[in-house]
Each structure stands twice: as structure tokens, then as C-alpha cells.
């Protein structure tokens, strides 16, 4: 008796060479530009960490007789209107700028994640209530929300950071909620719930790891925005206060000098911001696989 089922085992021509998963590893997902962006970001972080070692001068101390010095062997990038060494200020500025943006992203990430998980887990009225509150916050433009918070709590780096983080929470929460909700509907999460595991356990053990990639991608994308917005607040005089070195503040303080024909300070600090933002947004974009912007 001959049936089609009992035919000789099929030959598999081609072999594994024929199937290659496109871009397996992290560097594959990042691509050459992404790897370059990671390198730039790492360099900036390193510069910020090592600022006390690398900086040739104290960032906040200068002599008025040495103001507006052009780049030279004494001061590699020259000095500002108060005779402070620009290279030292840029290095220390990296600390405030990166730390500030990182703080915004972390606070917004944690807050957004918690809101998303709580909304997903409890659903129903809790979810609806959180949704309404987020809607209300969405009625405010980002920067305006931050300005209002600063108006209430006063100017300063800490206040500005918290203000921006609050402005970012709605976006993070909304994106993560939809991801977490999708995950929660999956059978394995339902099974874990049926086994009697508590909401906290299931959220922490199953939901959180599965929305982690989105949390990270969102953080990387938000980092660029946070740097710009924080620098803008400092530029407006609402964020970091002098004499602290901060890129946004340096651009602002350099404005008068720039109009007098000494553009170095603004140019250097501004370029630092542009490079950092570009690097982080490329990383975020590559991780998330979508175009920059379009956060709403």
C-alpha cells in the first residue's frame, strides 16, 4: 500500500544559509549611525563623569581681566564674559545637562510605568480616572505645564527637573498603558492570575519585563526632548541658576557676548546640546524603529 504520507523524507535544499534573520544583535538593530551615536553618547557621559579630573580650571571662578580670551594654550576654548575657562564650564555643564535630562527621564519613566501598571491592573474605574487625569494634563502644552509648576515651586534646577518630569508623565503613561494592556490580555498573564498570584507579583514578574523595551525606547527618545526643554527652561531663567555651569544657561548667558561679537560661549554650549540631542534621539529612534518626533 502506497500513500503519499509514507513517502521518503523530504530533502531540504538550500540549507540554513537561505534564512538569515535580519539584524540579530543590538549593534545590528542600531546600524552604523546608531553605533556612532552610542559612541558619542558614551563620550559625553564620560566627559561629565570625569569633569573634575579633566577640567583645567574651576568652572565658576574667573578673573574679569581675563574675559573674552580667544582660544589658546592657556584656555583651550577661550574664556567667557567673566573670564571663566569655557572648556571647564562645558565639561561641568555636561554634568548638569545630562544629569538633569536623566533625572527627568527616570522620574517620568517610573511615574509613567506605575500609572500604566496601576491602570492596567485595576482597570475599570481606576483606569478611567487615571485616563481622565492624563487627558487633563494633555490639555496643557508641555512647556506651559513645566512653566506653571516652576511658577508654583520657584525657579531652580530641581524644580525645573520635577516640572518637566511631570509634563512628561502623561505621554509615558499613555504609551505604556496601551502596551501593558495588550500584554495583560495574553493567555499566560491570565493564567498567572488564575493561579492566584497577586496583582503586584503578576505586574512585576510578567507585565514589567514585557513592557521594559518600550520603557527604555521611550526613555531614550524622551532624553533628547528633556535636554532641549530643560535647556529652554534654563534659558528662560527658570531652571539652573548662575553661576552653575549648564549648557542651556551658557547659551543664554552668551547672548549678550554674542551680540558684542564674542559668540564662542553660545556656539560651544549650543553645539554640545545639538550633538547630545542628536545622539540620543538617534539611539531612541533606532531602538524603537520609528522616525524621530511624533511623540503625541
Amino acid at each position: 500500500m502506497k500513500t503519499a504520507v509514507s513517502a521518503p523524507p523530504a530533502r531540504r535544499p538550500g540549507g540554513p544559509a537561505g534564512r538569515r534573520r535580519p539584524g540579530g544583535g543590538l549593534s545590528g538593530r542600531l546600524g552604523p549611525l546608531g553605533v556612532a551615536a552610542v559612541a558619542v553618547a558614551a563620550l559625553l557621559v564620560l566627559a561629565a563623569l570625569l569633569a573634575p579630573v579633566l577640567a583645567p580650571y574651576e568652572p565658576d571662578i574667573g578673573s574679569i581681566v581675563q574675559r573674552y580670551l580667544p582660544p589658546g594654550p592657556e584656555h583651550l576654548l577661550g574664556t567667557d564674559q567673566s573670564g571663566r575657562d569655557l572648556l571647564s564650564r562645558l565639561l561641568y555643564g555636561a554634568r548638569t545637562s545630562l544629569l538633569g535630562a536623566a533625572a527627568v527621564v527616570v522620574i517620568a519613566g517610573v511615574g509613567g510605568t506605575l500609572l500604566a501598571l496601576v491602570a492596567t491592573w485595576f482597570g475599570g474605574r481606576v483606569d478611567a480616572f487615571i485616563g481622565r487625569v492624563l487627558d487633563l494634563l494633555f490639555a496643557f502644552p508641555n512647556l506651559l505645564l513645566a512653566i506653571i509648576v516652576v511658577a508654583v515651586f520657584g525657579t531652580g534646577m530641581a524644580q525645573a527637573t520635577v516640572a518637566l518630569a511631570m509634563a512628561y508623565v502623561p505621554y509615558t503613561a499613555r504609551v505604556l498603558r496601551s502596551v501593558a494592556l495588550r500584554e495583560r490580555r495574553l493567555p499566560y498573564v491570565q493564567a498567572a492570575e488564575l493561579q492566584g498570584l497577586s496583582g503586584v507579583t503578576v505586574s512585576g514578574r510578567h507585565l514589567l519585563p514585557n513592557i521594559a523595551p518600550q520603557i527604555l525606547t521611550g526613555a531614550a527618545i524622551n532624553f533628547g526632548y528633556a535636554m532641549i526643554d530643560l535647556a529652554a527652561l534654563s534659558f528662560l531663567g527658570l531652571g539652573v541658576q548662575p553661576p552653575t555651569a549648564d549648557w542651556g544657561l551658557m547659551v543664554s548667558q552668551g547672548q549678550d557676548s554674542l551680540l558684542q561679537g564674542y559668540p564662542q560661549q553660545s556656539l560651544l554650549a549650543g553645539t554640545c546640546i545639538v550633538v547630545a540631542v542628536a545622539a540620543f534621539s538617534v539611539i531612541g529612534e533606532r531602538l524603537g524603529g520609528r522616525a524621530a518626533g511624533g511623540r503625541a
Partner: protein
């Protein structure tokens, strides 16, 4: 359509009501008392202080004060500045033209340069595409205030083509004064819009209905216009809208950089001087404008996309 707009207007009114409460409540909770700003460090007798408190209704309970403020706002009375004693409504009115001109100009630049660059890059591809992609990546990373200073440095200080400060008066003078600020304000948004537009056009170009139209012998120009660009405008409308709405607040930074006497500059001054009467009024107005712009975008979207169920979705 009418019902849709009315519904959305209703939703907006509710949102504004809540927003006003949040704004007023935030100012109320702020550390420091209003009368300490009013007296501004001078030593005043308790009697004077009491009369001030009475005059501003500071002894009333919170909800009553909020109610007074809200009813005032609804009748066009935005209160009185704590620092200058000026009527906030007229203060605001004098600042509005500059901001409206600035944001309208910037919005125009965003639409013209962002959308057009994106469409051309998406349709043509090649070198131009690469240029637009690169330009938008860099443009996106340039903060508006830095762009403002760069433009100022190059075109005002070095070349002397444009005035450094001021908003100008009359049409052509305004355009001259506001060109650099508008460009600075539009730059990052135009970059994002160009990028998204390009992606939308490229995606649309690869859809089956476009390939079907071409396979039916419909000329490329017609397909590009009627099928590719038109459909790509859906996501573009959203992103353009989001970015134009964001100008409402973003203008603040540019106004500060160019020392323009706009609403945003008023807000920043008020925040620095803790003039809460002005802060809450300006904030509420900005939220209202933001809401209206978003509503207009939604209506526009519904006009373009027949699939949007006008009656169904709530805000």
C-alpha cells in the same frame, strides 16, 4: 459635522473648566502669600494689610475665591496684575498681536517647508531625499533658543539684514522683524514634519492601491497627487497640528530670545515676579488656544478622512 464640532466644543469647555481649577489651585498652593507680593517688602501696618486682604478678597475661602475669579474670567475680567496694578485683560490684549503674528508666521513656515520638503523627498528620492533626511535630523536637534541666537548672530549682527530686537509695526516691518524669530521657532517643528511627511509619502507610495492605479495606466502625476500625497496628508495633518499647537508655548522661548513683547514674554516675567494673577490668566488663555487649535486639527482630519465616524467617538 455640526454635531461633531458642537460635541468637541463641549468637551473643550469641560476641559477648560477643569484646567482653570488646576491652574487656580496651583497658584493658591504656591508658597508665599499674595499680600507679601503686594507690599513688596515694605513694612506696613496690620490695618493696611487687612484692608489689602479685604480688597483682594484674600480672606474668603478658596472655592469662593475661585468662583469669583472664574465668573470674572467668563465676563472678560481677568483680574489685576499684582505688580503693576494693570488690568490683565488689557495687558494681555496689548501682547497678543505679536504672538499671533509670530506663531502664524512660524506655522506657515512649518507647513510650507516641512510638508513640501517631505513630499518632494518622498516622491523623488535620491540625493534630495538624503539631504532632507539629514537636514531634518540636525534641525530636530537644534533647540529653538539656540537657533534664535545663531540666526541673530549671522543675519543681524554679522550681515545686518534683519533687526535684532523688537516686533515692528505695520505689515512689512513686522515681517522683517519677525522673520528670524519665526524661522527659529519653526525650525525643529519643520524638521519633524518633513521627516514624518517623507515617511508617510514613501509608505503611501508602496501601498497596493497606488500600485493598482499605476497598473491601470493612470498617469504618475495624477497618482502622485490624488493617491499618494492626498493619503499621506492624514498622518501629516496630525503631526503638523501637534507641532503648531505646541508653538503656543514654544513661542515663549523665542520671544524671550528676541525680547519680543509677546504673551510668552509676559508669562515669563510674571513667573519670575510671582505675579500669579497674570500667570493664571495667561496660562488659561494659552490652554484655551491650545485646545482650539487641536480641535481645528481634529475637524480638519475628519474632513479629509471619510472613515472617521463623526458621531461616534468622544473626546
Amino acid at each position: 459635522m455640526q454635531r461633531f464640532v458642537i460635541r468637541r466644543l463641549g468637551a473643550l469647555a469641560v476641559t477648560l473648566l477643569f484646567s482653570s481649577f488646576v491652574i487656580y489651585g496651583a497658584m493658591y498652593l504656591a508658597p508665599g502669600t499674595p499680600e507679601s507680593f503686594l507690599v513688596q517688602g515694605r513694612t506696613v501696618s496690620p490695618e493696611v494689610l487687612a484692608s489689602i486682604r479685604a480688597q483682594y478678597g484674600l480672606d474668603d475661602p478658596f472655592l469662593l475665591r475661585y468662583w469669583h475669579w472664574l465668573t470674572g474670567v467668563l465676563t472678560g475680567d481677568l483680574g489685576e496684575s499684582l505688580t503693576t496694578r494693570q488690568d490683565v485683560a488689557s495687558l494681555l490684549a496689548s501682547r497678543i498681536p505679536t504672538t499671533v503674528w509670530l506663531t502664524a508666521y512660524a506655522a506657515l513656515l512649518i507647513v510650507v517647508f516641512g510638508v513640501v520638503a517631505g513630499v518632494v523627498a518622498g516622491l523623488r528620492g535620491g540625493l534630495l531625499d538624503t539631504a532632507v533626511l539629514l537636514g531634518s535630523s540636525v534641525g530636530f536637534a537644534v533647540p529653538t533658543f539656540f537657533a534664535a541666537l545663531l540666526l541673530m548672530s549671522v543675519f543681524s549682527v554679522t550681515l545686518g539684514w534683519f533687526p535684532v530686537f523688537g516686533a515692528g509695526s505695520g505689515f512689512s516691518d513686522r515681517i522683517l522683524h519677525l522673520t528670524l524669530p519665526a524661522v527659529a521657532l519653526a525650525l525643529p517643528a519643520a524638521a519633524v514634519v518633513a521627516r514624518i511627511t517623507r515617511t508617510a509619502v514613501v509608505e503611501e507610495r508602496d501601498t497596493e492601491h497606488v500600485s493598482v492605479a499605476l497598473a491601470r495606466g493612470v498617469p504618475w502625476r495624477t497618482v502622485a497627487r490624488r493617491h499618494i500625497v492626498r493619503n499621506a496628508m492624514l498622518p501629516v495633518t496630525t503631526i503638523v497640528g501637534v507641532n503648531i499647537a505646541a508653538l503656543v508655548a514654544g513661542a515663549t522661548v523665542v520671544e524671550h530670545a528676541f525680547t519680543l513683547d509677546g504673551v510668552g514674554a509676559l508669562l515669563i516675567n510674571a513667573v519670575q515676579q510671582k505675579d500669579f494673577a497674570v500667570v493664571q490668566a495667561v496660562a488659561l488663555v494659552l490652554v484655551a488656544v491650545f485646545g482650539v487649535v487641536n480641535l481645528v486639527i481634529d475637524v480638519l482630519y475628519a474632513v479629509i478622512d471619510p472613515r472617521v465616524q463623526l458621531g461616534g467617538e468622544s473626546a
